[in-house]
């Protein structure tokens, strides 16, 4: 491999950063991570130091090194800035910042400047060199393990400033690795070994509760994420595949939750029956699907904005009905005291010991949800790759052409609506047990918006996108509790940033990328758009 001589500014910057990260950043004790002490990279300084590793890109010759080096340099600088703000905030004035932080800031600035002046060079390879299957699978497994590691690491961080630093570290490392072609390479491997990849993913997901050492807090959060993720995959069928913007989707989730709560013989309920759980899950899905058809029949002739507004209205109708139909839903009080699941003597509420780790009750629900998610993934991917999925995409691309090509557009849109509703309804029944109570105010317009946001943020039309989006949406607010009042503001800002820099979402489908990146990302420079039907051309 060819090596470059690094520019002096870069060397100076990297040295300053390393020294700065090993020196005190705070003049007062008590800042998280023993930041007033030098000699070791405690607290957020570690993230800064890890990002300095990107400086090797000044030396080695790899594709995409300019952008990657720039990302790590900006990331390291941003970590310093975040902590500067936190230090001033906690210490009271600028005097609380010690010299190490200033040195690191200067080093970061120098690195950014040096990276900026790097030549663009060549792009990373589209695909990695083929290697033996065992090695390729091992690479995949390592990638997934790293993901689990990042999640577990992030969840362990308690303080807000440190967590934000971690997020900055994670984001900019991811951007750098993206520019080095890591994710597209992993994506190719994922598609090459879909089954093994799914199994590995499942293994990582199952492993998560075992990393929590009996601590229930995050398992509980992930039990909430699980149901949300199933619903998000369902919504992804509607929005991501068929292209129907549904702003009242949470109503289907609510229908399922009410079905689940009413048929579980809760302590405060109106219906006193208790059906087997598996039946209830299917029933909840089916009832929601019927609702989907009832709502869809009159509305699916509408297009785009109109459909969005009408579905929004239906979502509200559901909430208001649930609020007022005292005889069935107990109005605003809702159904409460939903008992824990018990299947064949196995109590889902109790904690169990497995492999020397005590798993709290929520872990049981989490595992049930994993099964549901797996089911949703199978439904999603198999439909996507069939005549039905192709018809949905065709409808989204050009409804008139789809109809003229022999697609019964109304029927297929109804189908998408019903399947999305079914998945949301099934997820809702589980949610009734997780939250032990169901009331109308859990199913507001805001929840629908959050679901749409999860899908858009994660990437429309892909399963990992929906999973990532819903995880981010739940974990971030939990982690940023000290910013509670600004939760939605921060969330909105994050959305704007993602939409600005990655409009196709974090894990987009190939097709979606093509739609949103006009500049021919797939190695056909200059052809895209130029040869298509002229946008302003004759229309008839």
């Amino acid at each position: 491999m060819r090596l470059h001589r690094p520019p002096p500014v870069a060397v100076a910057g990297a040295v300053a950063l390393v020294v700065g990260c090993l020196s005190p950043w705070a003049t007062f004790a008590g800042f998280p991570g023993k930041m007033s002490l030098g000699g070791f990279p405690g607290g957020a300084r570690l993230f800064c130091l890890l990002l300095v590793a990107g400086a090797v890109l000044f030396v080695v010759d790899v594709g995409g090194r300019r952008r990657a080096a720039l990302a790590t340099a900006i990331g390291a600088t941003a970590v310093v800035v975040v902590n500067l703000v936190a230090l001033v905030d906690q210490g009271g004035d600028i005097g609380s910042v010690s010299w190490g932080a200033w040195l690191a800031l200067a080093g970061g600035g120098a690195l950014v400047a040096a990276a900026w002046r790097l030549p663009s060079g060549h792009p990373p390879p589209e695909e990695w060199r083929r290697r033996p299957a065992a090695i390729e699978v091992a690479v995949l497994a390592t990638g997934l393990l790293a993901l689990l590691g990042a999640v577990v690491w992030g969840l362990e961080i308690e303080e807000s400033s440190r967590f934000v630093s971690f997020l900055v570290f994670l984001t900019f490392s991811a951007v750098a690795l993206h520019h080095l072609g890591l994710f597209s390479g992993l994506g190719v491997l994922f598609n090459r070994y879909p089954r093994i990849a799914m199994l590995l993913g499942a293994a990582v997901a199952v492993a998560f509760p075992f990393t929590q050492q009996g601590n229930a807090y995050w398992i509980r959060v992930f039990a909430s994420i699980g149901v949300f993720a199933v619903a998000a995959i369902g919504l992804n069928v509607v929005v991501g595949l068929a292209g129907l913007l549904d702003l009242g989707y949470v109503a289907f989730f609510g229908v399922g939750a009410y079905v689940g709560a009413l048929l579980a013989n809760a302590s405060l309920t109106t219906v006193h029956v208790h059906l087997p759980f598996l039946l209830v899950v299917l029933l909840g899905g089916c009832v929601a699907a019927v609702f989907g058809l009832v709502i869809g029949l009159p509305t699916l002739r509408l297009r785009g904005d109109y459909l969005a507004i009408v579905t929004l209205g239906f979502g509200e109708i559901f909430r208001i009905t649930a609020n007022n139909w005292d005889g069935l839903t107990r109005g605003p009080n809702g159904i409460s005291g939903v008992p824990d699941l018990a299947v064949g003597g196995f109590d889902f509420g109790a904690s169990h010991s497995l492999l020397g780790v005590t798993l709290p009750g929520f872990a049981n629900y989490y595992f049930v949800e994993l099964v549901l998610i797996a089911g949703a993934i199978v439904v999603f991917t198999r439909l996507n790759d069939s005549r039905i999925g192709r018809a949905w995409v065709a409808i989204r691309e050009d409804e008139v052409a789809a109809a003229a090509s022999g697609i019964d557009t109304i029927r297929l849109k109804l189908l998408a609506f019903a399947i999305g509703a079914f998945l949301a309804g099934a997820a809702g029944t589980v949610n009734a047990h997780v939250t032990t109570q169901v009331s109308p105010d859990s199913y507001t317009f805001l929840e629908s918006i959050l679901l749409v946001a999860a899908v858009v943020l994660g990437g429309m039309g892909t399963v990992p996108g929906a999973l990532l989006g819903s995880t981010a949406l739940f974990v971030l607010p939990e982690k940023l509790r000290s910013f509670q009042d600004m939760r939605l503001l921060l969330f909105g800002a994050a959305l704007i940033l993602v939409m600005r820099f990655r409009p196709e979402g974090l894990v987009p489908s190939r097709r979606r990328r093509r739609e949103l990146r006009e500049e021919a990302p797939e190695g056909v420079p200059g052809l895209a758009g130029a040869t298509g039907a002229p946008p302003g051309g004759p229309v008839s």
Binding site: R387, V393, A404, L527
Partner: protein, 253 residues
């Protein structure tokens, strides 16, 4: 034998009569040309014949059965079309575009698609084989994996034809298939239309290029202001003074 029977089809757009009680017959193995000045109602007529517009009056019969309802029913009955301004699924690949055209000839339902039984796999394989054969037929065999949007203009028109043929039509409606093509591509398109007819598919084609129409079609219908002015063989139509008048206007002075 008559394939398509159009009787008194009329389409009115608030005040404007775009198609005015048109009668038309297309027989098996026919290549029918439809010509007329801009705004004559040619595209609107095709829209009525493919279900995209509901005629204000008149009747359309295909293989003896009355046609009505949504466009997919027309396609399933055997009338496929292309568009004057190309309407592909721009971000799907060329191959996927043709597969979409197979939709109304395949039947796998929800359960089968999720379960992936032998029936699903057989049908997918059949569809893929047909799509490959059609891409071969229109000369796009090497472009299967290309995103439709990235095709050249002429190739996009060819792909639209392949997609329409994928629905196994008895009648193919082509709306200005050589628009934007050079002389060589135009000849190739005429040749393609003849080969389509040889496959047993009747063709009705709108075109402004007179040489193309008169060299290709068995019969030509002339539409002027929504009305069918003349219909006959290319020689008859070319000689008809009313046609010359419609195109050039009444000689004055």
């Amino acid at each position: 034998m008559t394939l398509l029977q159009v009787r008194g089809v009329t389409k009115r757009f608030e005040g404007l009569v775009a198609v005015d009680s048109v009668d038309l017959d297309v027989g098996e193995g026919d290549i029918l040309g439809v010509i007329g000045p801009n705004g004559a109602g040619k595209t609107t007529l095709f829209n009525c014949l493919s279900g995209l517009e509901v005629p204000t009056g008149g009747e359309i019969r295909f293989r003896g059965h009355a046609l009505s309802g949504r466009p997919d029913r027309f396609t399933r009955a055997g009338v496929a079309r292309t568009f004057q301004n190309i309407r592909l699924f721009p971000h799907m690949t060329v191959f996927e575009n043709v597969l979409v055209g197979r939709h109304c000839r395949t039947h796998v339902g929800l359960a089968s698609a999720i379960g992936r039984g032998p029936r699903f796999r057989r049908e997918e394989r059949e569809s893929e084989a047909r799509a490959e054969e059609l891409l071969d037929f229109v000369g796009l065999q090497r472009e299967g994996g290309v995103v439709a949007r990235n095709l050249s203009y002429g190739d996009q028109r060819r792909l639209e034809i392949a997609r329409a043929l994928a629905s196994e039509p008895g009648l193919l409606l082509l709306d200005e298939p050589r628009a934007g093509m050079n002389a060589q591509e135009t000849r190739a398109t005429a040749d393609l239309v003849r080969r389509i007819r040889d496959r047993g598919v009747a063709v009705a084609v709108i075109e402004h290029d007179m040489r193309f129409i008169f060299g290709l079609c068995d019969r030509v219908a002339v539409l002027v202001q929504g009305r069918k002015l003349v219909e006959g063989t290319p020689t008859e139509v070319q000689a008809d003074p009313r046609v010359i008048e419609a195109y050039l206007g009444t000689p004055t002075g």
